[in-house]
């Protein structure tokens, strides 16, 4: 449909560099800023090759406090995937229309592709990587395995995070209710029947 503005040069800092930086920062409170500056271009093509204004943000991701400096244009999804190495959350449409990027922000399920990271000062973010307690899977993760609720798996992290939100919101009274309240997550493989069963299973466990 629309033309993407030309992408800028790939940044000097590769994803691997950022992973390393993150691990160093992880757990330590404000041990140093993770600078997520111009590399935002790698994910969010910019019209100009210049660096946009950036902002320092402190947030908690999967229980770890981080301070990052983000180009204001960086979405939470790009922060997670391109800069923190948390590639579980997926980019399907980048426009709020598929749910593959669903994460919890302050306990509520949201589309991380439409969330600007710069707005997350003080926020608590939970992604699919932060759901299990050590080796123990979240009941809904287990239910997805038990019910064989995926094929290619691309939509699955978003489905599960959305399902966790759906369970919290108490919208699991019937298969019909689950279908409606899970409708913000598309599955190209068409696993809907089993996804509903998985949410039902997790609802029974609660």
């Amino acid at each position: 449909m629309s033309t993407d503005p030309p992408a800028a040069e790939p940044s000097a800092l590769s994803r691997r560099t950022f992973v390393a930086t993150t691990v160093a920062v992880g757990g330590a409170v404000a041990a140093g800023d993770l600078v997520v500056g111009p590399s935002a271009f790698g994910a969010e093509p910019s019209t100009a090759a210049e660096t946009g204004p950036s902002t320092r943000v402190s947030l908690v991701v999967n229980g770890r406090r981080l301070t990052v400096v983000v180009d204001n244009r960086t979405s939470l999804l790009d922060l997670l995937r391109e800069h923190l190495g948390l590639t579980g959350s997926k980019k399907g449409c980048n426009a709020g229309a598929c749910g593959a990027c669903t994460v919890l922000v302050d306990g509520r399920r949201v589309n991380s592709c439409l969330t600007l990271a710069v707005r997350l000062e003080g926020a608590e973010v939970t992604t699919i990587e932060g759901l299990a307690k050590g080796e123990r899977l979240h009941p809904l993760q287990q239910a997805f395995i038990d019910q064989d609720a995926f094929q290619c798996g691309f939509c699955t992290p978003g489905q599960i995070m959305s399902g966790v939100g759906c369970l919290k919101e108490g919208r699991t009274g019937s298969a019909e209710e689950i279908r409606e309240w899970m409708s913000g997550n598309l599955c190209r493989c068409g696993c809907y029947v089993k996804i509903v069963r998985a949410v039902e299973q997790a609802a029974r466990w609660k």
Partner: protein, 326 residues
Amino acid sequence: MYPFSYTRVSDLRTAVQAGSDGGRYIAGGTTLVDLMRETVERPGKLVDISALPLREVTATKGGGLRIGALMRMAEVAAHPTVRALYAVISQALELSASAQLRNMATIGGNIMQRTRCTYFRDVTASCNRREPGTGCAAREGFNRTHAILGTSEQCVATHPSDVAVAFAALEATVHLLGPAGERTVAFSDFLLRPDNTPQREQSIRQGELITAVEVPAQPRPLRSGYVKVRDRQSYEFALTSAAVALHVRGGVIQVAKVAAGGVGTVPWKLSAVEQRLIGQRPSEALWTQAAEVAADGAQPLAHNNFKVELLKRTVERQLRVVGGTR
């Protein structure tokens, strides 16, 4: 996306000051971030208003409602006062977007959202709404989802909001705060038809902030509800929709509030349908007879003629559901 500066405001005065200085308000961001990424919107300065104290629903004297502009769609839909007084508002919201988007998006942002016309969203297409004077690709293009009412030579795009249809039916007012102080605008004057200026979509002025939407009191009991017809069962915009509220006393309809969505360049108030209902006794025949005038004045395009009949049936169905004869 073009670069922008970012500031967060926590009081109304600072917000309006920043808005008047050319800042663009961002609430839930679900319309704005999307359109910025498409480079349809190119604000240089974002003003984050999410911390402003506009997060309350209050019942007003006599049973009206005042909904703070920063209330999220999910919060309003679930609010016990809203559910008790205006089921039509709750239903319109719960049939909107997705659970995730409703957790982010606000009421103020919802009534400010821009059209979902695909040509509007595509910066390579000609579009008078996005770039005045460039033409309208939808007129001769794919216009199956476009408007049949309130269109102009310039633009035929629908207004996509669902809850705005409920607000139009209920004759809500929009509360605004600007550099010159507060004012209120009737909902019917807030959203503008395209006419010769499709780029002007709301009668809001530079720097003005929506503080609340107020729904006037209605006689009780009031039965109300919303129906939405779409290409898929959920997570889709309306092809047609209808918001209906009825107050029946002594077996006679005393108050009828009806509006339609998915068909107009703005939420379409159906005064002619209301007139056919008031003073009458609910009956199957009445619903059909009233809905008969729902599409009066329609000007279908090459691909959306089906909306004329669909609109009548949508209104008839919702009159029956709310009127309770079946």
